[in-house]
Each structure stands twice: as structure tokens, then as C-alpha cells.
Symmetry: C2
Subunit: 410 residues, 2 copies
């Protein structure tokens, strides 16, 4: 693993010097290869899927693992889409001259080596490698044992694409050790990994917090709230609640808890079951008086990211109570208010501490593509380095260049 | 400790809403109090110093701990200087409108609660609190047991200053448990500390890497290099080497290793002992042929941040060898080249991976105040969030504000 890391480190220096035309060439060649050799990827994936089925896997796990022509096509299209984006590397972020004549500039540069630890989605192999190469980084990929054959097939094609562009294979390293111990070893490759990004569930995130000694960015949970203010347009609130909860309930920017101002509860809540067909409602006492079909919500319900057709509901006395509830249970992802009151909107956006605060629209828009970032490596719920949807810029850092003509410090 | 953290969390919400005028008022009131009550601080410090002396402390440790009128005056002046800086909070970093009409802005906001773990310099208590309050953050301070009385006296005055400005005392929390276990507990205050900044030596930094589960920024070591290129102005090189090594040898941006191109070694190196009076030179074989007084340099010498009057020297064949040496031994802090060759300067600034790459001037300029940042909380040698000298901006993060008028995602 350390050898793979050292090769990635060497490759990162080549990538940092390579022009974006060369890096794009590697992406486009890889896209062609993935498309042309899709049968190789699918055969390898078939082996993985058969082994997983024999091992008793099923449902979502199997669905995540399985590739088909259309998913492989999406991988190739993703590489081309990323190649077409603007290169973040080389951007001059700022610059000034000091009174002693020193010229200082801040230039955007690649991070170096990005480590991705992920679960059994083989498409992450291709997507993450594409984003890292575009931003001038080498990548070390550490997927799960269940997808190893698929990952090997994909990485072999990426190596061919790199080679055709004259770039070293070390730029995309696949860690083949998949034990739990090896995951911990991966998180402690000090000096070899400049930034670790875990893509997976809460247990992976907590393993990173506990064991990682390399710098990391967490793509955390989204216990997202929507607050219907006293001054809300209730028709708008209804359509946004339905969208935020139901358009894709399994993702991190979906709505999990609805807070309704006491003054509009009697007008808004009785219609909720009709708006949210098939969604189980959990409510406090005030909610259940207005929505008799709702089950009681306990402390845990408000703390849960359901990622499915369940919604916790609470009636609050005022915007202060709504903000207090969010600060207690929120995970700092996306928090929304529906209101026509400018002061309420301003207070909410100022006082709620989250990656994205959303006024009169759906939390589902908090997403790299919807924001126009072009691509997304994840949504950060931490505050350092990157917060919210992360595009290519999150895979870069800034370097100071100081130019003088002999100045010394006195 | 958790109670103090919870109080800081509550205070952070008040600070995030407070205007910069109110926060500056707290800083200015505190500065006045520190000045007026300097005798209280000095009496407390006297207790700390006496206890440390009785415990056998001496030299640097005692010097760092000891306060006098002038150091207390500098603390007050520091608070006033920070109050006079521009407030980073509220800056609109970017903004755009999406095709569906969503208006997206990125706004600079405080991190929330900043944790500082530091050793026995009581002035850090005041300086760090000032920077955190200026940037709208609450701060949790965890100093050493040897400076506890001094820290209590300083924090009591800061609490008075906060109170006079109508801000809660929880905004500055002093952790009084100073055992090793409590340091680890401090680094694991998940949900209470948004960013941990250790101010101390390598053992503190490695403890943070090992134990911290809260996000952190490392202020790492500086094994800084200066490369004298074949095309260097050797008179300039001499004056810059002397400045970088000798102007203040004990700090992280001081020079530790000198690399000299083979073509100019015979012209440059024999004069080195004359330029660097009192500095012990350690060199490779080629250096020692030209500088007979130099002792042999081993692998370890090149890897050492001496922080004192010692300089490692090596003769290199070309700029590639210089860059290779730096990538092997450097700590990513500040790396300098002296050259008149544009191509060499461009290669060095592009290919050397460090927080600051410096052309034709001294590494000693890599510093928040010298860069014009107004104040410095440290110099980051990591790549995420902040790299290089960290001013107030490093104590902030960015929040997305998304405004719509009823848009839903299809």
C-alpha cells in the first residue's frame, strides 16, 4: 500500500506540471476505452455480483454493485463531462504588492494525492478518478472487496487512457487490500495522502474520525429541516415540502423534519397527508391533534435522518423555537424556510448554522450540479476547507508565490 | 469541560449575530482592562513563575512563562490592533443566478467555536481570544498547568470586557483541567469545537493527529530550504542566506538547509563561514572540500529543523536535484530560490510543493504581518482550509444562501 502511495506521490508531481490539455486527453481516451471495452467491465462485474449473491447479498447492496450498459455508458459520459469543465488549477486567487516591493500572489494548485475510501459502488472508481485527474491530483482508491474485480477492470482502462496521454499509471492507484485493518492503514498514510474523502455511511465516517491521521473532508449526514413560517405562502410551502420529501427520499438533501409555526398549523397541517401520499408522519402532540393519522414522534425521531418515506413534524411557537430546534437536531447540511417576511428570512439565513440555508425553495437543490458547479465529489457538512456541495475547487489548495529582488527582513 | 463547551456554543450564536462594532467594543474594553489591571496579571504570573522555578523549570520554558509590564502592554496593544482590522465576517465571496432563477450567494461566516490548545505562553491566551472574537467566534482555551494562574487572571479581564460590551462570558472559556487525559478529551469535543488549533511543539502536533476527532488546523514544522541557482546573483544570495538563517534562527520560517548549484559552489561556498559568523555548518563531501570547517552532514541533518545556529549545506547538480532534495526533506513550509533565470524561477515556483515558494528574497518574510494580513493565528503547513500564514480569514468559513420563489426540483 505504501508503494502504491509512493507511486501516486511521484505521479502527482508529473500531474502538477502537466497541462490541462494533457490531463483532458487522458480523460477523453479513458472515456473511449470504457465505452469500447464495456464488455470487459461487465464481465468483471458479473463475477463480483455472482460472488456477492453467493454470499447472500441482496437488495440495495446488490443494486449498488451491479453495472449494466447504461451505467457503464454513464461512467464514460461522466469522464467527458468532467474533461469539458474549466480547469481550476492555475487560477490566481489574489495578489498584492507590499510596501517593500515584495509581490505576493496566491495561486490555485492541486492538493497532490487524494485518497478515496468507499463502499461497493464501482462507478465511484471512475467518477472519483476523473475528478481528481481533472484537478491535477493523483488518486488512491480503496474500494470494498465485493467490487474488486469491477474496480480492477475499470482502473486497467484508466491506466491505458493515462498511458495514451503520456501520463504515469501511478496517477490512479487501486488498493487491493480490503480488510478492516487495511482501511485503517489507508487512513494513516501520512505524507502520502494529502486529503482523504470517505464516500459511505455513518460507520465509515466515524472510522475516519477515529483513526485517520491524514487530513480528510467528511461528506456527512443530512438531517434537513423545513420551517413553514407564520408569513409563508402555504400553497408554495405545500409544493416545496412534497418536493423536498418525496422527489428522492434516499439522499442527503431530502427533507427529514418539518417545523410549522403555530399560527398557520391549523391551516397547513391537516392537508399534509394528502400532499405526502405514502409518507409516514411522526408528530408532536400539537401535530397529532391536527393530523390524527400521525404517530407520536419522540426525541429520536427528530434526530433521525430517515432517508426514506418518513417525516417528523413539530409545531413551534415562533422562529426562535424553529432555529433552536434546528440547532439542536440539525447536522449542518441544508435548512429551509418558507416565508414572505423579509425579517424572518434574514434572521433564518443569518442565525441557522448550516452549509446551505434555503429560502422559499426545495432543499433538493443543494447539490453540485444544481448549483452549477459542473461536477460533485460530495457535500461537505464540515466547516473547514469546503462546506456544502464540493466541485473541482474542493480538490485544490492555494500556494503563496513571493517574488522579491533581494529584500531582507530587518 | 463539556459544560464550558456548551456555554461556548451558546455564546457563538450570540457572537455570530453581534455587529462588528459590538465585538470591537469588547476588544477595546478588554485592552483597557488589561492595561489598567496589569498588576493583577503580573501578580498571578509571579505565582506561576515561582511554582515553575520551585519545580526546577528554567531557560526557555521560564522565559516563555514570564510576563512583565512590556509584555502585558503588548497584549493590550495586540487587542487594539486586531480591533482595528477589517471584519472578515459578512463578506460575500461569490454569487450567481441559476437558469431556474435560484439566487445563490456564498457568505463568509464565523467557524463557531475555536479550540486552542497551547503550552505555557500566557500571552497566547489574550492574542488568540482577540483574533477569535474579532472573527465572530467563541474560543475554548486549554493552556498548560504551569500558566493557569496567569491565564485565569487574563480571562477574568476578558470576561469583564465582554460584559461591558453586552456579550456573554461563555465567548471565552478557559479549560482548567490540565492533565494529559484532559488534553485528549479536549481534542474529542465533537459537536462543541468547530476547529482546533494546536500552538506548540511536535509532540502536541502528533497528539492532535493521533487523538483529535474534531476538525483541526496544524501549524507544523518548517524545514526551510534556500537554493542558490547557477544563475544567482551571488552577492544577493549571500545577504539573503545570512538574513534567512541568522535574523531570528528560532522560528519556523528560518533557513535550515542551503542547496548550492555545482556551477557556483566554488565561488559561493568558501565565503559562507564569513557570512554566517557563529553558525555551525554541516555539509556533504562537496561542501566540505570548499568549506573545511564544516562538519559532515548525514541524512538526519537534512531532515532536522534546527531552530538554532546550525545550517545543513549540500551541493546539487542542477535544479532538478534541488527540487528533489526539497520534496524529500521539506515540510511544505517556505522554500526559496535565488536566480536571475526566469525559467528556473518558474520551474521552482511551479514544481516545489510548499505553502510559500519564494524567489530572490528571504524566507523570513513568510509571516502574516509581513504579508499584510494584519494578524496571524499561525502558519499552516497543511493544504486543507488554510495554507501558509493564517489571518482572520482562516478563522471563518463560507455558507451558501439559496433564495428562490417556489422552485421545486424535477
Amino acid at each position: 500500500m505504501r508503494e502504491l502511495g509512493a507511486a501516486a506521490r511521484r505521479a502527482s508531481r508529473v500531474l502538477a506540471r502537466a497541462s490541462s490539455a494533457v490531463r483532458d486527453e487522458a480523460l477523453l481516451r479513458s472515456a473511449d476505452l470504457v465505452e469500447q471495452a464495456s464488455d470487459r467491465i461487465l464481465a468483471a462485474n458479473h463475477t463480483d455480483v455472482a460472488a456477492a449473491e453467493a454470499g447472500g447479498a441482496g437488495g440495495t447492496a446488490l443494486d449498488r454493485l451491479r453495472l449494466d450498459e447504461s451505467r457503464v455508458g454513464a461512467m464514460a459520459a461522466g469522464l467527458r463531462q468532467v474533461a469539458a469543465l474549466a480547469d481550476p488549477v492555475g487560477e490566481v486567487v489574489g495578489g498584492w504588492v507590499r510596501p517593500n516591493g515584495l509581490r505576493i500572489t496566491q495561486v490555485r494548485v492541486p492538493l497532490g494525492v487524494v485518497g478515496i475510501v468507499y463502499e461497493n459502488r464501482p462507478n465511484v472508481t471512475c467518477d472519483a478518478a476523473g475528478l481528481c485527474l481533472k484537478s491535477g491530483n493523483a488518486v488512491l482508491l480503496r474500494g470494498s472487496s465485493s467490487s474488486l474485480a469491477s474496480n480492477r477492470a475499470i482502473v486497467a482502462l484508466l491506466h491505458e487512457g493515462l498511458d495514451k496521454a503520456g501520463l504515469p499509471a501511478g496517477a490512479v492507484g487501486l488498493v487491493e487490500e480490503t480488510s478492516r485493518e487495511s482501511a485503517v492503514e489507508f487512513m494513516r498514510l501520512d505524507g502520502l495522502i494529502d486529503c482523504l474523502i470517505p464516500r459511505g455511511g455513518p460507520s465509515l465516517v466515524s472510522a475516519v474520525r477515529e483513526h485517520a491521521t491524514v487530513p480528510y473532508i467528511l461528506d456527512g449526514a443530512g438531517n434537513c429541516h423545513l420551517y413553514v413560517d407564520a408569513a409563508a405562502d402555504l400553497a408554495m410551502a405545500g409544493s416545496i415540502v412534497a418536493n423536498a420529501k418525496m422527489q428522492r427520499p434516499g439522499v442527503c438533501n431530502a427533507l427529514e423534519t418539518l417545523l410549522v409555526h403555530r399560527a398557520v398549523a391549523a391551516d397547513f397541517l391537516p392537508g399534509l397527508p394528502g400532499l405526502l401520499g405514502g409518507v409516514e408522519l411522526l408528530g408532536d402532540a400539537a401535530t397529532r391533534r391536527l393530523v390524527p393519522t400521525a404517530s407520536p414522534a419522540d426525541e429520536e425521531a427528530y434526530a433521525t435522518e430517515f432517508l426514506g418515506p418518513t417525516l417528523a413534524v413539530a409545531v413551534v411557537d415562533d422562529i426562535d423555537a424553529a432555529i433552536e430546534h434546528i440547532s439542536r437536531y440539525g447536522t449542518g447540511h441544508s435548512e429551509a424556510i418558507i416565508t414572505r417576511d423579509l425579517n424572518a428570512a434574514n434572521r433564518f439565513t443569518t442565525e441557522v448554522d448550516a452549509a446551505a440555508v434555503v429560502v422559499n425553495t426545495s432543499t433538493r437543490f443543494v447539490d453540485g450540479e444544481q448549483f452549477g458547479l459542473g461536477a460533485e465529489i460530495g457535500i461537505s457538512t464540515q466547516k473547514l476547507h469546503a462546506r456544502g456541495p464540493m466541485g473541482l475547487e474542493a480538490l485544490t489548495c492555494v500556494k503563496y508565490v513571493v517574488q522579491g529582488d533581494g529584500q531582507v527582513r530587518s
